[in-house]
């Protein structure tokens, strides 16, 4: 017990990094994903194809590779090449990657809404943006909660990939102590930390699902 108390501070510091990457990614990638989904289903064929290609690229290559590319290779690309510090580089990779997955979840949700909802709104004089904001998206939210819950839980665990940029997230902090002290108990503590985070998330999503259960479709 005393030993665990001594390793808690560095593990908590690591958790703080993990949570930062998680929260910032979530806050930025969800709206970006929604925007991509709306473009993907829009009648602008060119933009739709472009987004389709983007989603293919982001889902088709490993997140770790994307992170390494943004950190190491981006600076050498003409015009857009900039050298990012490790934290922004990691965030950029996570946001770009997760937005692609969120976009597909949103698209599936939007396309699952009955055409009659659009027609019902249209004959009441509502414009397309009004229909989206007031009628379609609130219903989409209810339908996409389960896949969104899945994806955010994956995101918590994916944050451990930032170790490749030598950032001290929860897992890397634990591994550091394991190698220093020749004991595996930091791994167990780290696992407990991850479980607590995902437990909070699961609980949050369950609350949301309950809230939306007031109406059936």
């Amino acid at each position: 017990m005393d030993y665990i108390a001594t390793i808690l501070p560095p593990l908590l510091q690591g958790s703080a990094v993990t949570l930062q990457v998680f929260l910032i990614t979530l806050v930025l990638a969800v709206p970006l994903g929604l925007g991509l989904a709306l473009l993907r289903i829009s009648r602008f064929g060119f933009l739709s194809t472009l987004v389709n290609g983007y989603i293919w690229l982001m889902r088709g290559t490993p997140l770790m590779l994307q992170m390494l590319f943004i950190y190491f290779a981006l600076p050498f690309i003409p015009v857009i090449g900039i050298r990012l510090p490790d934290f922004p580089a990691a965030i950029l990779a996570f946001v770009l990657n997760y937005a692609a997955y969120f976009a597909e979840i949103f698209r599936a949700g939007i396309q699952s809404i009955d055409r009659g909802q659009y027609e019902g709104a249209k004959v009441l004089g509502m414009t397309y943006p009004q229909t989206m904001r007031r009628i379609v998206l609130p219903q989409v939210l209810k339908r996409i909660l389960p896949p969104m819950s899945n994806e955010t839980i994956t995101l918590v665990k994916d944050t451990s990939l930032i170790y490749v940029l030598a950032m001290n997230d929860l897992l890397r902090a634990a591994r550091g102590i394991v190698q220093r002290d020749f004991t595996t108990s930091p791994f167990v503590v780290a696992a407990a930390f991850y479980l607590i985070m995902t437990l909070v998330l699961t609980y949050g999503f369950q609350r949301l699902e309950k809230k939306y259960a007031v109406y059936d479709e």
Partner: protein, 250 residues
């Protein structure tokens, strides 16, 4: 109120409307009948711009929605005008299309709030009055999924009326209902007709067409076969196709 002439509509290569014309005066109740696939629902949907037409003219209360010039070029008015012209009409669907995530009252006030920008304090009493009128005031805080089909359709009628339209379009409003529930919807519509609301009703309810409609339009194969006062048409259909259809229905 409504002047539609020579309306043509294609779905791909299939011509669903082959030159439909109809004039509707203020306060008239028109029943549109005919076999399925005759284009009657499509025609109704064209009037409120749920479908775009390929040729012809539609005018609502003297304002053009779409017109076709001598060269055959079919042109709609600008989008803002389309929206304004179509707002003179309300529509009720076969499958209600209520918003499931909103309560009955919220369904009624949503469009007045977002489209017209009416104040909530103003619209809520109006919406409640409409719900009383259709006999569903006690359901105002229920979600649509808790209602029977007939109740849903009466909410849909009240929701359309909350936008204060001059014309009401009904697209087979009782076709999705259990037979014992059609009566309540039809009596709501009858009340509306008695208040001199201008109505176009696409329906398979021959009794309703005969008793409530002033004029009955019989459509078949994408054209209006016969359009005459209800009594005349039911008593002595002129066209053999009308006669054959009525024999099957009655």
């Amino acid at each position: 109120m409504i002047r539609a002439s020579d309306v043509h509509k294609r779905f791909g290569a299939v011509e669903v409307l082959k030159g439909v014309s109809l004039d509707v005066d203020k306060g008239e109740v028109i029943a549109v009948i005919g076999p399925s696939g005759s284009g009657k629902s499509t025609f109704l949907r064209c009037l409120i711009h749920l479908e775009t037409i390929h040729r012809g003219n539609i005018e609502i209360e003297g304002e053009a929605l779409v017109s076709t010039n001598a060269q055959g070029l079919c042109q709609y008015v600008p989008p803002a005008d389309i929206n304004r012209v179509c707002r003179k009409m309300g529509m009720v669907f076969q499958h209600f299309n209520l918003f499931p995530h909103l309560t009955v009252l919220q369904n009624l006030i949503e469009a007045p709030l977002t489209v017209k920008g009416v104040l909530k304090d103003e619209i809520v009493p109006k919406a409640e009055a409409l719900l009383r009128k259709v006999g569903l005031f006690d359901k105002r805080n229920s979600y649509p999924s808790r209602l029977s089909g007939g109740q849903k359709q009466r909410v849909a009628i009240a929701r359309a009326l909350a936008m204060e339209p001059d014309i009401m379009l009904f697209d087979e409003p009782t076709s999705a209902l259990d037979p014992e529930l059609t009566g309540e919807v039809l009596s709501t519509m009858r009340e509306l007709a008695e208040e001199r609301m201008t109505m176009i009703v696409v329906t398979h309810e021959m009794a309703f067409a005969r008793e409530v409609a002033g004029r009955v339009v019989f459509m078949d194969g994408g054209v209006v076969v016969e359009a005459r006062p209800a009594r005349e048409l039911f008593a002595a259909p002129e066209h053999p196709r009308t006669r054959a259809f009525l024999e099957k229905m009655l």
